[in-house]
């Protein structure tokens, strides 16, 4: 459905997109994950023919995308990163306005507008001006304006930034519902939990490049970390820490502020082995956590830095 090949975009000396390749299939919830400044929004803006790019090709629905590709644009819904609605118009008017740019039939437009209002949970706020809405409701309005016309392809650029958890959950559930209704979704975020929760396939971006891609499970299998063990309220000597590092399947161990973090490769009983060693050494400890790898671990292991930097 969307094909991006060798896309290069420079802002002066800054290389914003470095030979980016993306291939998005119909029916996917495709996640574009990366820290701020990794090139996600630039890629989206190039895709939408808003930005000039230096090299590469972009095709949507098998056609090259141009600023005047109105037939293609009719099939796309966009939810921009920053809230983009008219301050002078009510919730209903905003949604009706954007829906009307795609849907000519007045009756159909009205139905779709009502549906979008229900979808975003804005029934009680339809006559309110955007400035009267809370941050979460405003974000929902921003989404409703982009999806009311039921597009085949929905591009959501960090739609949950600065949203309260309740609104966030509602938005994420809504995105999955849109996908069930037949829309393909491109979802950019720097929140790994969200991407992990809703995306069927993910590309991790850094410095304008795609550094890894696949399903969540595939991405996690790419790295050595299979389990992270965290133990709090522990006092270790340097010799004991060194001994932990030598335990089977442990490839990294760190000790700081009475907290021990141990990273293990895929194996059974990693936690039991570590706890057995501490018991043998008669080391007392507080809380113990065993965590499966996250996308942050994937990002950390590939780039050497935290995703949320």
């Amino acid at each position: 459905m969307v094909h991006i090949e060798n896309l290069v975009k420079r802002y002066g000396d800054l290389l914003a997109l470095d030979h980016l390749n993306l291939d998005i299939k119909e029916g996917e919830v495709f996640g574009l994950l990366g820290p701020n400044g990794s090139g996600k929004t630039t890629a989206i803006n190039c895709l939408l023919a808003l930005l000039k790019y230096d090299k590469g090709t972009i095709t949507l629905f098998g056609q090259e995308m141009h600023p005047d590709s109105y037939d293609l644009k009719r099939q796309i819904g966009v939810v921009p990163q920053n809230v983009a609605v008219f301050d002078q118009m009510t919730v209903y008017e905003n949604i009706d306005y954007f829906c009307g740019l795609y849907i000519k039939d007045r009756t159909r437009r009205k139905e779709l507008t009502e549906e979008a209002i229900r979808f975003a949970g804005l029934e009680d706020h339809r006559k309110m001006l955007p400035r009267k809405l809370s941050g979460g409701l405003l974000r929902r309005l921003n989404i409703a304006c982009g999806i009311a016309h039921k597009p085949k392809l929905i591009i959501m650029d960090e739609p949950t930034v600065a949203v309260d958890p309740q609104s966030r959950n509602r938005i994420l559930e809504g995105i999955l519902e849109l996908n069930r209704q037949g829309s393909t979704i491109i979802y950019t975020s720097h929140y790994m939990e969200e991407v992990e929760q809703i995306c069927s396939r993910i590309v991790i971006m850094d410095h304008g490049r795609s550094i890894a891609s696949g399903t969540t499970e595939e991405l996690k299998r790419m790295i050595r970390t299979a389990e992270t063990i965290r133990i709090e309220g522990i006092a270790l000597t340097e010799e004991q820490l060194a001994a932990v590092k030598e335990l089977p399947h442990v490839f990294q161990a760190g000790y700081e502020d009475q907290k021990l973090t141990v990273k293990c490769t895929s194996a059974k009983h990693n936690l039991i082995r570590v706890l057995n060693y501490l018991q043998q050494q008669e080391v007392s400890f507080g809380r113990v956590y065993s965590e499966l790898p996250t996308l942050n671990d994937v990002f950390l292991e590939i780039t050497g830095k935290e995703l949320r930097d």
Binding site: Y11, N45, L48, A49, L50, L51, K52, H66, P67, D68, Y70, D71, K73, R74, I76, V78, P80, Q81, N82, V83, A84, V85, F86, Q88, M89, E93, Y97, F98, G100, L101, Y102, C145, G146
Partner: protein, 366 residues
């Protein structure tokens, strides 16, 4: 297109800043002018009642009767003097070989009558001299008689406070028309993806750019023209300013003036500048153009005409004010038509250049 137009209209109607400048500000200025000039402006467009006492100069009597700004009654000397004493007329013209005037006071109307007589006498003298020295020259001079009449009229109103008061109000309406640029600017900025998130969103919808520009322009024009009509009604009914019998001719000027104002705003809005800078250019530019058209100094347009006439041809505010002026002063419509044509041309150029800037395009950065 109707959908776009409807919502653009709605959005602009609720834009309080633009509505202040385009509607309230001119009304406030109008009230201030009214307080400053008193009723002189009210009187200026009313015909001045005069008596003509018949004599051997039939030409002068005909000339008086053809003057739109005069309400001439032919009387005997006795009747005229009685009427003057009662205040029914402002002056008595004696249509002798050497025309003369008797007035009872030294107010504005009397000044107009004196200036009128003076201009006629001077021009009559000029024609006689041409006839004596170069009779063939009369052939060329006679077609200029229409201009001569215009000149007489212009002179009659030109050298006194009435004209100044009038030009202030003309310049005020011109300024109000040009303040349509503020809504034009907002409209154009909303079509440039690099100006705001909303503009970027508007740039990815399947609406042809020409439709977007035209609908924005139409909605801006609708509101601006309605505002100007409200201003005219306010000036006429509240401040009691008469626009004369040919007031209907004001409307095409106002319509084209609004278009020019909106086009100016669209032109500035289509440039890649910060919002504050654009508004500064528009407010400053509008006030400067209005200044040149006589908003702060009544004779400014004449000063510009004398020194840099081209400025008066490319300044929409001056063209608007001058079109109003020509309706009030001249019977000949040539100057009125010229002003309208120039306004239309300026609007067309601004819209064309703006469209070129606003066409679907990719940006270097957003």
């Amino acid at each position: 297109m109707a959908h776009l137009y409807k919502y653009n209209l709605l959005q602009q109607l609720r834009e309080k800043d633009a509505m202040f400048w385009t509607l309230l500000f001119p009304i406030i200025m109008g009230a201030l002018f009214y307080v400053t000039f008193g009723t002189s402006a009210i009187e200026m467009m009313k015909n001045i009642p005069v008596a003509a006492v018949a004599g051997e100069n039939q030409n002068f009597e005909t000339f008086l009767e053809e003057m739109d700004s005069l309400e001439v009654q032919v009387m005997t000397d006795e009747e005229a003097k009685t009427a003057l004493e009662k205040g029914e007329i402002k002056g008595i013209f004696y249509c002798d070989q050497e025309p003369s005037l008797t007035v009872a006071g030294a107010q504005i109307d009397e000044s107009i009558l004196e200036a009128l007589l003076k201009a006629y006498t001077e021009n009559q003298q000029m024609m006689m001299e041409i006839g004596e020295s170069n009779p063939l020259g009369l052939v060329a001079a006679i077609p200029a008689m229409n201009d001569y009449r215009d000149m007489v009229l212009q002179t009659s109103v030109g050298g006194n406070e009435v004209k100044d008061s009038l030009t202030y109000f003309f310049a005020l309406i011109a300024m109000a028309c040009m303040f349509g640029s503020l809504s034009g600017q907002l409209a154009a900025s909303s079509l440039r993806a690099d100006q705001s998130a909303l503009a970027a969103r508007q740039s990815v919808v399947p609406v042809h750019r020409m439709s977007a520009v035209v609908s924005q322009m139409l909605s801006c024009f609708t509101i601006q023209f309605a505002n100007i009509c409200i201003l005219l009604l306010y000036l006429h009914f509240v401040l009691q300013i008469s626009f004369g019998e040919r007031w209907i001719l004001l409307l095409p000027v106002c319509a084209l003036g609004c278009m020019a104002g909106v086009a100016f705003g669209i032109f500035v809005g289509s440039q890649r500048l910060k919002e504050g800078i654009k508004i500064g250019i528009l407010v400053g530019g509008t006030l400067f153009m209005s200044f040149l058209s006589g908003l702060m100094f009544g004779n400014m347009k004449d000063v510009v005409e004398h020194h840099i006439p081209i400025l008066n041809r490319i300044n929409p505010a001056a063209l608007i004010a001058d079109a109003f002026y020509s309706i009030s002063i001249y019977e000949n419509m040539a100057r009125y038509r010229r002003n309208l044509l120039l306004l239309a041309a300026i609007t067309a150029v601004l819209v064309f250049v703006s469209y070129k800037k606003l066409r679907r395009e990719r940006y270097d950065s957003i």
